[in-house]
Amino acid sequence: MLTRRIIPCLDVKDNRVVKGVNFLNLRDAGDPVELGARYSDEGADELVFLDITATIHSRKTIVDLVRDVAENVFIPFTVGGGIQTVGQMDELLRSGAEKVSVNTAAVANPNLLAEAAQRFGNQCVVLAIDARRSKDRPDRWQVCVKAGSEPTDIDVVEWAVKGEQLGAGEILLTSMDADGTKAGYDNELNKAVTEAVNIPVIASGGAGSLDHLYDALIDGGADAVLMASITHFENYTITQMKEYLRDRGIPMNL
């Protein structure tokens, strides 16, 4: 049986892993290659590296980082942040990334998802969505772009469905409201999206305790859970998370 996945997320800035709250107030969390290798040894199912600066200068750094990680880590990892073209995706995949995630560029040019899927296969193409609960309609969420700084009037669930149709093979769904708060995932958001699409959904934003992970997988229907604060600052080990979930009846790779 396919197991559910535990995915530590490494937000990278100036070649360091950082973590903030609601996308702000960044704290240093270590060296990306060392941390990636440590999580792999501890049994992480996958890793996500996000270049949160995503400038022309950082693009070169992130390719070097992908090469370094790929020489030391033999589990799949996704790279995202500022990717705009199929050529950039190709470079990252050839450097050793298993998947690439796109966010702002896909909103600006949805056809990018289709082009990437036809070239690399849809299993390589992750649509990252930063979701913020709508102030006017609390049962809806709006897509935000440019590292969450720019809200759009695009509905998250509609965008997820469109992304799947275009060729995305997975959705990395981050609740901006929950991110870094350790107050739990937004499972209404997760449920709305997982019920609307047939591709895997990674729940992101808000993990603070072990039962939060369980709730995102069961109530939210997520295929995988992504976390940062609770692993980087050593609240829980990957093994603790997996054993807890396994003991509550969820298939895990242990």
Partner: protein, 205 residues
């Protein structure tokens, strides 16, 4: 020396990295002389089937020839799918035809792509799995799967609410739908086993 075929698709480097990490001699190349001289060949692949086949181009015929002559060949993911006769991913495409069977969409009614770690039952006598016990988790990421019609092929299955082929062995032809280079320690052991098969073959010559 194992040659990992370099044909302009994603993630060929990861397979080389894994061999390097294991201390196994491997080289990324698309030179026909390297392919002829290799102990064994790995055909990796992160790409859509049609793109991969066209990127492989005239190397396909050479690979088919040396594999038919007995050189060990390991196909991974799309590289494994290309060992079969044909695929229906984004149109109809011919494969290398080294294994009997077709590549078809994973049946609907479940989350697709099949993405993540799934438990593979490891039958006795499949040489890639020597020393790995009866079952292990491996990492999969694919939307198409092979329907094997080849009576001579040994098959390892995984359960994705249907019995799905995870790995095939027919004489010197090996394939894994999963990514051994991304499957942690168990995956590295699969690559080590393939290396050992190739090395033993080379010593006999």
């Amino acid at each position: 020396m194992i040659v990992v075929i370099d044909y302009n698709v994603g993630n060929v480097k990861s397979v080389c990295n894994a061999f390097e990490y294991l201390g196994c001699a491997a080289k990324l190349s698309c030179a026909p002389t390297d392919i002829e001289d290799a102990w064994g060949i790995v055909l990796p692949g992160v790409a859509a089937f049609g793109y991969a086949v066209s990127a492989l181009g005239s190397l396909a015929e050479l690979i088919r020839r040396v594999a038919s002559a007995g050189k060990p060949l390991l196909g991974i993911c799309v590289g494994y799918q290309m060992l079969f006769e044909s695929s229906s991913e984004y149109g109809r495409h011919k494969g290398l035809g080294l294994l009997g069977g077709q590549v078809v969409p994973i049946p609907p009614g479940r989350v697709i792509p099949h993405m993540g770690w799934n438990l593979v039952e490891l039958p006795e006598g499949m040489r890639l799995f020597t020393g790995l016990g009866r079952q292990k988790h491996f990492y999969f990421a694919h939307s198409f799967c092979a329907e094997v019609t080849d009576a001579e092929a040994k098959i390892a299955y995984t359960d994705y609410r249907f019995e799905m082929t995870a790995s095939v062995q027919k004489e010197n032809i090996y394939g894994t739908q999963f990514h051994p280079e991304k499957s942690g320690k168990a995956g590295l052991k699969v690559l080590q086993n393939f290396h050992d098969i190739c090395e033993r073959g080379a010593q006999k010559c």
